[in-house]
């Protein structure tokens, strides 16, 4: 066991443990807090994969923005769904069984793959060059310029649609 492997195991155990808490806790606010721990764990996994940019994006976008607006939304819809109620469907046992079967099949299928057992080594391209190549590729007309612009359209739709849906409309309040 190298130190890197120990770090990986610790982080992934924490990540999965907190993910299980996220889907099972009664208090939805606490679930959101454990979600932040999970996201942090995933960010560390990205670091171990040498995707520094995505680790930083994970912290910035997921923890700094998505988790915060999830908490905002939880507060906004607060007083109806009280935490004393059962938060799961009646058939959660069946779902658990199905998901377990799914996970077993999934991992089994993965292990059939030829590259499943290959080892990951440190990359040759380091530091700023990785991000620079990414930036060049994103804006290269022969590369990924079109998906990049389309992503902007997606964000535009999300912005306009989200604001339109969430805003108070005059007289639209259900009494």
């Amino acid at each position: 066991m190298t130190p890197l492997q120990i770090v990986f195991l610790l982080v992934s155990i924490v990540t999965i443990f907190s993910a299980i808490l996220v889907v099972s806790l009664q208090k939805i606010f606490h679930a959101a807090l454990w979600l932040i721990v999970t996201l942090m764990g995933v960010a560390i996994l990205f670091v171990l994969l040498e995707a520094s940019f995505f680790a930083a994006v994970q912290i910035l976008v997921y923890i700094g923005a998505i988790a915060i607006i999830l908490i905002f939304a939880i507060m906004l819809t607060r007083n109806i769904m009280s935490d004393e109620e059962i938060q799961s469907n009646r058939s959660w046992g069946l779902v658990l069984l199905l998901v377990l079967v799914f996970a077993v099949i999934f991992i089994n299928q993965l292990s059939q793959s030829a590259i499943f057992n290959s080892i990951l080594y440190p990359l040759e391209v380091q530091g700023q060059d990785n991000i620079m190549a990414f930036g060049q590729g994103l804006l290269d007309p022969a590369g990924f310029a079109l998906p990049f612009e389309l992503a902007s359209l997606l964000l535009l739709a999300a912005l306009v649609g989200g604001v339109y849906l969430a805003m108070d409309k005059k007289g639209g309040e259900a009494k």
Partner: protein, 106 residues
């Protein structure tokens, strides 16, 4: 020095946990949170394969990075719209329980 398989297994387990949450939770926001978990698991997978391809190619493989970026953008858009929908429904019907939103039920 970490095998690719470890990342894949962690991602698979995380995905399954997220799927369990997405199916079994009643609160719509909790369902969204579970979907976030699933998307994160997908991203771990993508970046693990990105690393593998970059190391075999010897230069930075762009497909993986762009894919991961698009997944993050889609996740952000999904959360924005999803929460806005939940809030709009909440304002109309005073509920966030997904199965109680049944206006179209025959």
């Amino acid at each position: 020095m970490i095998p690719l398989s470890w990342y894949l297994i962690v991602a698979a387990v995380l995905f399954s946990v997220g799927m369990f949450g997405a199916i079994s939770r009643k609160n719509a926001i909790a369902i969204l949170i579970s979907i976030e978990l699933m998307l994160n698991a997908v991203n771990i997978n993508i970046l693990a394969f990105w690393h593998y391809h970059s190391q075999t190619l010897g230069y930075t493989d762009l497909h993986g990075m762009v894919f991961a970026a698009i997944v993050i953008m889609a996740a952000a858009a999904e959360v924005a719209i999803g929460l806005a929908l939940i809030i709009a429904v909440y304002r109309q019907r005073k509920t966030v329980v997904a199965s109680e939103v049944n206006a179209l039920k025959g």
